[in-house]
């Protein structure tokens, strides 16, 4: 008998279907460990639940969390009404709610140890699959799926094919994991991974922190993949020790059935940006260096962690943001804010001319959309989506916090070589 891949193993642990039914392309029902909803889509989930299942209890109120995070400003009165609806329902059903300012739901699940390796969790967020960085099967889901899940605790999933990706080689500062993630996105989009689960392998993986793994896995959605996994290892186990949690070991079988295995050479990888009009339009920085930039946003569920701001601060220390540039920073969670305040990173960035905004989602879901400006504004964000017209009418580039910081100083897309030499490697 052929063994199982990581995603198949997780599904197998959560389903009443037999082993014979666990194969790519088949659809099975699974029992969920956690269902979440946010201020985007959450109100519709509540309306649908109450319309279709009037007077019902939820499947398990301790396995539901509401995480309003999309609209941290409440910049539209409609958002305030929606957020209120979450609070009222949460109180009625005794559901945990991480209110405004707590941060992005997907990040809170690992920052607070609310979800564990091997779990299946769904939320109204297409980047829930970034939880694959911790071996959690996180999936984005629409209003109907979530309303059904709140009632039943069930979810149907088309078992994805698994692509094994071997990352071969290593890279050096100022290249960071975002450059790796963008480069991998380009390769995987070209290769074609629609609906697939990806397992990342290679020596480099054991050197990546949880935050870096999250960034790597957060761009799989942009290649139309289902999820990217890093199998839980000693780094994952150490991470959960802060919550006094011993994680179960879970990994693919030696003889797992991969639909394909590919190797991506990342030796001496350079700096990359996703250029307009699509995230997968990834180019080496040399092709776009010098492009004038007016707005820069560091934040979102891709590159909104403490590490990302620390890396930006390393470039911005004793520098000034170009007067033609607005630099906005949005930490993913309150925990990140606290760390950045404690170690002086915030002061460094504020002194350079950056502006911090409330923890939560960035420009992606309209909540802090205004940061990118009008038609003549060209932007860089460290986020994950630059589809033309999405976060502003002008061109948008995706880059690492390091490239974003260097570009903020120069007022144009810039290679952070000069700053690097000034500061020296750590």
């Amino acid at each position: 008998m052929v063994g199982f891949t990581l995603v198949e193993k997780i599904i197998r642990k959560h389903t009443e279907s037999s082993d014979e039914e666990i194969y790519p392309g088949n659809i099975v029902w699974v029992n969920l460990d956690l269902v979440t909803a946010r201020d985007y889509a959450g109100p519709q989930v509540i309306d649908l639940f109450e319309k279709h299942y009037p007077g019902s209890e939820t499947f398990d109120n301790k396995k539901i969390i509401f995480t309003p995070d999309c609209y941290p400003y409440g910049n539209d009165p409609k958002h305030a009404i929606d957020q209120e609806k979450l609070r009222v329902f949460a109180k009625k059903h005794d559901i945990q709610l991480t209110d405004l300012g707590s941060g992005i739901g997907s990040h809170l699940l690992f920052k607070r140890g609310l979800s564990l390796p091997g779990d299946i969790v769904i939320g109204a967020d297409s980047h829930y699959n970034l939880l694959g960085a911790l071996g959690i099967l996180g999936q984005g889901a629409g209003d109907l799926m979530l309303a059904f899940a709140v009632k039943t605790g069930k979810y149907w999933i088309k078992i994805p094919e698994t692509v094994k990706v071997e990352l071969k080689g290593d890279y050096k500062w100022p290249t960071t994991v975002k450059d790796l993630a963008l480069y991998v996105l380009k390769q995987l989009h070209e290769y074609g991974i629609t609906g697939c689960s990806v397992e990342f392998h290679g020596e480099i993986i054991s050197r990546l922190s949880i935050e870096e793994r999250v960034t790597l896995c957060s761009l799989i959605t942009e290649a139309s993949g289902s999820i990217g996994f890093v199998a839980p290892d000693h780094i994952t186990a150490d991470y959960y020790k802060q919550f006094n949690i011993e994680i179960d070991s879970i990994s693919a079988d030696e003889d797992a059935n991969y639909s394909s295995e590919i190797m991506i050479d990342i030796q001496d990888l350079g700096l990359y940006l996703a250029c307009p009009p699509h995230p997968h339009n990834v180019k080496p920085i040399e092709e776009v260096v010098g492009t004038e930039i007016h707005s820069i946003v560091i934040g979102s569920c891709t590159n909104g962690t403490t590490l990302d701001f620390q890396q930006a601060a390393r470039i911005l220390k004793n520098q000034k943001v170009n007067p033609n540039v607005r630099l906005g920073l949005i930490p993913a969670t309150r925990e990140d804010f606290v760390s950045l305040n404690a170690d002086g990173t915030m002061t460094t960035i504020l002194e350079a001319g950056g502006n911090f905004f409330g923890a939560g989602c960035s420009t992606c879901a309209k909540g802090q959309y205004g940061l990118t400006g009008g038609k003549t504004t060209v932007s860089i964000t460290t986020g994950n989506r630059n589809t033309q017209g999405k976060i502003g009418p002008g061109d948008v580039y995706l880059a690492s916090p390091v490239v974003a910081a260097a570009s903020a100083i120069e007022g144009k897309i810039a290679i952070p070589i000069k700053e690097y030499e000034q500061m020296g490697d750590e």
């Binding site: 299942y53 039943t152 959309y369």
Partner: protein, 170 residues
């Protein structure tokens, strides 16, 4: 979805990687009424912005690879139901879009090679669901598509996922 065969005139959108922000832009996310969503469909897709305001009733829409990639927004499915689109045939679909469509009762047909299939706007197609065949009645040609998994048919026959939840004990 009671019929085994679906007929309709074709509207081709010959574009790969259409994401949900091109189907229904994020700035509109507080809109949930299907009739209000309808005119905005493809409102951010260059060359096809007028789709939402045209009459597309009973049409079969054809799209390229990775259709519906991007966000989880249900409106990107609801809008096609408001247009009374009979089915969307695509080279492939984003995984979240696929499940959102099934759960709402919008028929998606995965047909790798559909953009190479000889086909023009307003041709009449027949989709034979039980035999997984697509035929072009104007050109007299036919091609295979992927068959629809049984759980998907169960959900669609119930009228959607929430309706299935009302009828079945989970």
């Amino acid at each position: 979805m009671s019929e085994e065969k679906i007929n309709g005139q074709v509207k081709i959108i010959r574009v790969d990687d259409i994401d949900t922000d091109q189907i229904f832009h994020q700035s509109l996310l507080t809109i949930h009424d299907p009739e209000e969503i309808k005119p905005h469909i493809f409102g951010n897709l260059p060359g096809h912005q007028s789709f939402g305001k045209e009459n597309n009733e009973n049409k079969i829409v054809i799209v390229g690879k990775n259709f519906g990639k991007g966000s989880t927004r249900q409106q990107a499915v609801t809008g096609f139901l408001a247009h009374k689109i009979k089915a969307i045939i695509g080279e492939s679909f984003g995984p979240i879009y696929y499940s959102n469509a099934v759960n709402a009762g919008l028929l998606l047909i995965e047909a790798p090679g559909i953009l190479e299939f000889k086909i023009d706007d307003n041709d009449t197609l027949e989709i034979d669901l039980s035999n997984a065949m697509i035929s072009n009645e104007n050109k007299g040609t036919a091609m295979k598509c992927k068959s629809i998994p049984k759980p998907v048919i169960d959900i669609m026959k119930a009228g959607g996922l929430l309706e299935l939840g009302e009828k079945t004990e989970f």
